[in-house]
Amino acid sequence: MSLTRRTLLVLLPVAAIAWEYVMADTPESSPNYKTTDHWWGMLLDITKCIGCGSCVRACQLENRVPDGYYRTWVERYVVQDWGFENLRVDSPDGGKNGFPALAASVGKSFFVPKLCNHCADSPCTQVCPVGATFISPDGVVLVDKKYCLGCRYCIQACPYGCRFLNPETKTAEKCSLCYHRITKGLTTACCEVCPTGARQLADLKDPADPVHEFLKTHSVQVLKPHLATGSKTFYNGLDGSVR
């Protein structure tokens, strides 16, 4: 086909409209944000979580998470006594719509919000055959969905069950710590909506961040510390039964 002037005049605006769509998913640039000035993590206070599921709903809306998959979820633990037999855990639909009421006197119960641990020595980024998932200079584990093969090795390598294969994009997906928000000086969607302040975004490189005072004065723990993944999600009030 020879390109006439008339065809060109038609094609140019079409290409311009198409380009808008191509660029639609590109994050806006953040000229004032320096990645090397930050090292992101999160503080999760189990003693404050009420299991309302607002964080799960906010995350699904903010990040267009497909139905039945979870970038964040909430687990409810019911501990009646010592030992494995006396432990019950549930997370109906990821705790998105809260939890059914428990019978009285079942023992202690508490909620544990979960999300990607943004590990400093993350086993998931280690195994990716093409480096499509990586740790950003500010400590956030991200996935480049334009590069991911969909081999799912990273999903197998995550000890915390934080990853899934997005059925629409056929690429690995997980919590991005709302990277599009935090690079603009906002907090994550889940922290934004948490009614009790049980989730707090933490900048471990910022000396003014209240996380430092909290870590100094509370007994905090990470999940599965024996796996030495360098997890940056710190839990206050974490019971030994939590897996």
């Binding site: 139905d67 039945g68 998959y69 979870y70 979820w73 687990e75 494995f84 432990l87 019950r88 855990v89 549930d90 997370s91 109906p92 639909d93 990821g94 998105k96 719509n97 979960k114 086993p123 280690q126 195994v127 990716c128 055959p129 093409v130 480096g131 590069y147 991911c148 093969l149 969909g150 081999c151 799912r152 090795y153 999903i155 197998q156 390598a157 995550c158 000890p159 915390y160 069950g161 934080c162 990853r163 899934f164 294969l165 994009t169 056929k170 690429t171 796996l227 897996r243």
Partner: protein, 408 residues
Amino acid sequence: MGPSGRQVFLNMHFDGFMYPNEIELQWSVLIVLYPFLTGLVAGAFILASLERVFLVEAVKPTYRLALLTALAFLVVAPLPLQLHLGHPERSLEMYLTPHRSSAMAMFGFVYLWYLMAVLVMEIWLDYRRDIVLMMQSSRGLKKWLYRAMSLGATNISEGALRVDSRAGWVITLIGIPSAFLLHGYVGFIFGSVKANPWWSTPLMPVVFLFSAIVSGIAAVMLLYMVLTAIRSRVIDMRCVDTIARYLFYTFLIDFSLEMLDLIHRIYEADESFRSLDFMVHSRLYVSQVVIQIAAGTVVPIVLLAFTQVFSLNPRARKSIYTLAGSLTLIGIFAMRWNVVIGGQLFSKSFLGYTTYKMGFVAREGLLTAIVLTLLPLVILWVLVKMLPPWPDKDILVTSTSSPEQPVG
């Protein structure tokens, strides 16, 4: 608002507590097939090297067949991986921009090295004389095909063939550690996942390697017996007796390693033990205890031991070898299944179990798996037609020649 439709659907398939993203299995039957096929390659090559490097003259009738079998299976081995990818069109990125810390990325290079530098080279060197002779004696398209395969190297003087033989020997020598590396690496891909206690053991590459050798030897032994029978030729009993003996020895090592792993897990009983033990006694009982350990390992070992201890007539030996070889292949396939699928049936919280639902006509379904298992046999058939692997002196079964007699 109640739970979503998808969640209700998923809830039907698990017991106890699973992390919500874990309910769906990520690696399907195709990923079971992949180490199975790669294992056959490595095993067949090790068998071929017995004759070439270790000078076990008795297995010579299977030397070329073993090489062609290895090639046929190696060509198909990446297909299940390719079909499994969410974006197969990006798979080449693994070679173009490999991530150096990824075992999977490095495995791609091991695979290429093994395919091109070892297997294809060795087959070409071994067959070059035949290719040139077939080129000279054929016409038309066939002649062009063999001409292309000869790569223009048509000198088949005694001196040139001696060089071929020497180079082939060197390549086999390089090929043995390469075959070890090939399948050891497959084991490493699983064994290095610290998130999964069912996989995470340094024994995994070694167990994979020995089970690979076992499956490859069994496959070539069966193929040799079946193809020789189809061709109405006499089965060389000295050859199959020797192969069966090696199968018995390697199987003993493989079984010992697997039992060492099992005993170690039971004795150590770490935090995952209770969960894994329950899984082996429930969802994996048939595939692990019944098929893999009892029918696929203990029975063939006992059968092979029987042929070592008692002197049986060739007909009985052939029947036992066929039965033991078939059970071995089923057992090794079950082992791959139990590693890959078993490793995804339990929650990493150790509090629940999910189910693997395999589709039939689906991209990662049973039908695809069956086609991919049969495809290497079709390729092998084509290879055998193009490059006959049979010894010159094998004997036609006639009324006068007893098939039970060994061939000299």
